[in-house]
């Protein structure tokens, strides 16, 4: 039954609903696959075998009782370790949260449980979601199933690698500057960042509150849309959650799968014309744009003059918020506590805990953000970055007056070898060059595989207006209908 791991989420749900296979068998098949390959991939920080089997049994019981099951009932899922899971270790890949078991579920986790999905475990990531390679995980990097010597992207490299390695058909990621989309691109999977406020942040360990957005990871567009529809929607526990109905992304993906984009206007961002990007990535991207044209889309070039300032603005706003969000990790109420030996004062214990518990990239960003918010520097840094954010939003608004969606490569380079970008933080930050503008604007964007470069996957990013998540699913599904799903070499 090992081929159960090769089925799509939609197929698995249908098979389980039909009674052809039990949810427990499906869960066991994926747990077996994890046992077989995760030593090499290291996508998971924690595998919840007992919890997964219990959830699967529950689905089987409910099916036997004739209860109506949701569209993803019995489908296994991996959850990024930045979302609180009740009673299940949640670390954000940091030493400072080692062993912490939250007393509550994130809203998204609650919705996943209510939908009958089977949570297999928690996936690896860069510490506190700060990074583009998982190399900043305090528990060791995740390896890209396409080439175990290369990074799987980040911060959500664990979620992307888990689905690329057939350890799970679905995963949850979070995207602050590209943490769902860039891992999706470099692992040949689909990753969507919903509209900010379209998915609840309640229970998401905050990196940058005004940017963090949870979203779906899958091996195909239809599965991503199904997962999106299960987790999205207003949450009264998140004040920034949008109190509006979620667009029908599942129907949009179905429509796009017909391969007809007649009447759809696609904008090419002229500022992302290939500068700083690998030639192979640009070639695959141009081929994909060509394919979109063939599907009937009208492609035009659009200038977004302020996108070039997105990266520096992001590296002021996100660390500023992070410096405040991460203040609560002080050893007083939960997680690691260092120096509590009767010889140190409370202030010293707080300081020693943070010194020992945070990794170097987290410290770098806390220092950066603390500086940017300091009196005397606020206006020049944080204040200025907020103005840039407004200008970028205007670029998007005016672009969407002319086109339905914008497209670009998801990331400038394919999966890079471990260690090749860690010595210079800026080289790492460039991985998010194309994804960051969307986060500053708040709109949705999706990365969908569009081909290979040097044998490694390349992703195409589709950006849409806020609360028009359906548009990007339609275009993504259409592209997928011609490019097809990418399959990594056997592990």
């Amino acid at each position: 039954m090992s081929d159960l791991t090769r089925l799509t989420a939609a197929e698995l749900a249908a098979t389980i609903a039909a009674g052809d296979v039990s949810a427990v068998e499906v869960a066991q098949a994926h747990l077996d696959r994890i046992a077989a390959v995760d030593e090499r991939v290291h996508a998971f920080l924690h595998v919840d075998t007992e919890g997964a089997l219990a959830a699967a049994r529950d689905v089987d019981t409910r099916r036997a009782a004739g209860e109506e099951l949701g569209p993803l009932a019995g489908v296994p899922i991996a959850v990024k370790d930045v979302l609180a899971t009740k009673g299940v270790p949640t670390t954000a890949a940091s030493r400072i949260l080692e062993g912490w078991r939250p007393p509550y579920d994130a809203t998204i986790v609650e919705r996943l449980r209510a939908a009958g999905t089977v949570m297999l475990g928690k996936t690896n990531m860069d510490e506190f979601a700060m990074g583009s390679s998982t190399e900043y995980s305090a528990y060791g990097a995740t390896n890209n199933p396409w080439d175990l010597g290369r990074i799987p992207g980040g911060s959500g490299g664990g979620s992307a690698a888990a689905i690329a390695a057939y350890e799970a058909p679905l995963a949850i990621g979070t995207d602050t500057g590209g943490s769902i989309r860039q891992p999706g691109a470099v692992t040949g999977t689909v990753g969507a960042k919903p509209t900010y406020g379209g998915t609840s942040r309640y229970g998401l360990i905050a990196f940058s509150s005004s940017l963090d957005t949870p979203g779906p990871c899958a091996r195909n567009v239809q599965d991503a849309a199904l997962l999106h529809s299960v987790i999205a929607g207003h949450d009264p526990r998140d004040s920034t959650s949008i109190p509006q109905a979620v667009p029908d992304v599942v129907a949009a993906a179905r429509l796009g799968a017909n391969g007809d984009l007649t009447g759809v206007k696609v904008g090419l961002v002229s500022e992302f014309n290939g500068e700083g990007a690998e030639p192979g990535v640009m070639a695959a991207f141009r081929d994909a744009v060509e394919a979109l044209t063939k599907l009937g889309a009208e492609v035009v070039e659009i200038s977004c003059p302020h996108f070039q300032y997105a990266l520096p603005a992001y590296y002021l706003i996100a660390p500023s918020e992070a410096s405040s969000n991460l203040a609560r990790f002080d050893g007083v109420r939960f997680g690691l506590r260092t120096g509590d030996d009767g010889k140190h004062s409370l202030e010293e214990v707080m300081s020693l805990t943070r010194e020992a518990g945070f990794g170097p990239e987290v410290k770098r960003r806390i220092i950066l953000g603390t500086y940017a918010l300091s009196s005397g520097y606020y206006d020049a840094y944080y204040g200025q970055a907020q103005k840039v954010r407004t200008l970028i939003t205007r670029d998007f608004t005016s672009a969407f007056e002319q086109v339905d969606v914008l497209v670009s490569p998801t990331t400038p380079f394919v999966a890079f070898p471990f260690g090749s970008r860690t010595s210079d933080p800026y080289q790492m930050y460039l991985a998010d060059l194309f994804t960051i503008p969307t986060n500053l604007y708040g709109g949705p964007a999706i990365s969908v595989p569009c081909g290979l470069s040097e044998g490694l996957p390349v992703g195409l990013q589709i950006m849409a207006p806020t609360m028009a998540d359906d548009r990007m699913y339609r275009v993504a599904a259409a592209l997928e209908s011609t490019v097809g799903v990418l399959t990594p070499p056997a592990l």
Binding site: P102, T240, A327, R328, L346, L373, S374
Partner: protein
Amino acid sequence: MTTTVLPPYDDVVARYEPVIGLETHVELGTKTKMFCGCPTEFGAEPNTQVCPVCLGLPGALPVPNRAAIEATIRIGLALNCSIAEWCRFARKNYFYPDMPKNFQTSQYDEPLCVDGYLDVEVDGEMVRVEIERVHLEEDTGKTLHVGGATGRIHGATESLVDYNRAGIPLVEIVTKPIPGTGAKAPLVARAYVTELRDVIRSLNVSDVRMEQGSMRCDVNTSLTPAGQTEWGTRTETKNVNSLRSVERAVRAEMIRQASLLDVGTRIFQETRHFQEDTGDTRAGRSKEEATDYRYFPEPDLVPMAPDAAWVAELKAALPEAPRLHRKRLQEQWDLTDQDMQSVVNAGAVELIEATIAAGATAAGARKWWLGELARRANEEGIELSTVGATPAQVAELQQLVDEGKLNDKLARAVLEGVVAGEGSPREIMTARGLEVVSDTGALTAAVDDAIAANPDVAAKIRDGKVAAAGALVGAVMKTTRGQADAKTVRELILSRLGVEG
């Protein structure tokens, strides 16, 4: 340690002009906390009124309490402020163990209410205190530092934290600097806080109890040498926990600053703590670092934009201002300014009002609250409202007096029973057998006995020395154990002796 000789207060105000300012924190009496659904009751077991949000657990997010926003707007309106059409919460970042997130969700440069005033009366003169801002924030938890000499975080061997208070909505009311009050500065400070307390109490949004910490006050004080225009360096005095302390703290700080300025020592801008026992202020930590709170707009919350129609509705529904309300009552009760002032000082305005509403006359109600009950409250050092008698009971007591069932002395005894919790005045009167003896047969016998026992006195009365009747009244009251109505006894004596009263 050196001892400084402090200058007399009169000298201080002759040579310096004080400028004061007050920052007052008021804990709102909402049922739930500012950003979560936890209860807010005072005095619960430590850490029993907490949840992921108010403990600042990773991933938890705040949701603002609408009732708290409404209460803040009402306070702002009652203080004649403009209400912001659009404003935001901000994070105030600093590390302290009783602050779960190590930042306080507060407001910075965009407060909910701005530019108001409160008129207060000091010695019959009206002083307008200008309000700079009224904003909404969350309270911190409480830390108990065990061991160490100071009870402060430094040198403590153990620190215990209670987060029940963390996240309770807190309103901060900040005045503009108040110059020009001269020697009256301490009184103005006290009158302002008193008036503010009454205003907030009238809105029914907080119990404003300074002794329980639901109203806390920081006092800023500076001195300007007479003839100069540039204001001196101010200090901020914390730990001011009663109305009396507000007055004492300002006075103490004025005297202390004058003693330094007199010898050319400069004043440091610092935080000082009021000492309840000695009445002086002491410096906080010696090397207070300048804290950079790194304020920035709270990204977990959306801006507040109170609907203009809603604000107008709240404004229209405000209760009468306590000052105007008092003015009206004074007229109704027919009191002099001075009498009204004693009612206010005793904290008896609402009690008398409620007693009248329960059926008593103004004079009757005032007599009991300002007399017997105020004396008791004073003796026990408690507030009049907690003395043990309710307005309804006082009204009933006065009614029994008016009906002639109790005389003054008996009524006092009944009131004692009321305060002791023995029941209603009527019940106590019956149970203790305290009713006035009005059966004339029994009284006449007692009167006749008294006349027979005091023939000399009786003779004087017969001779027209009516005043001598007092001695016989005393005798009758004695034999009836005070349960007779003195006026009736007197009439009876005169009539038995054939003398016209």
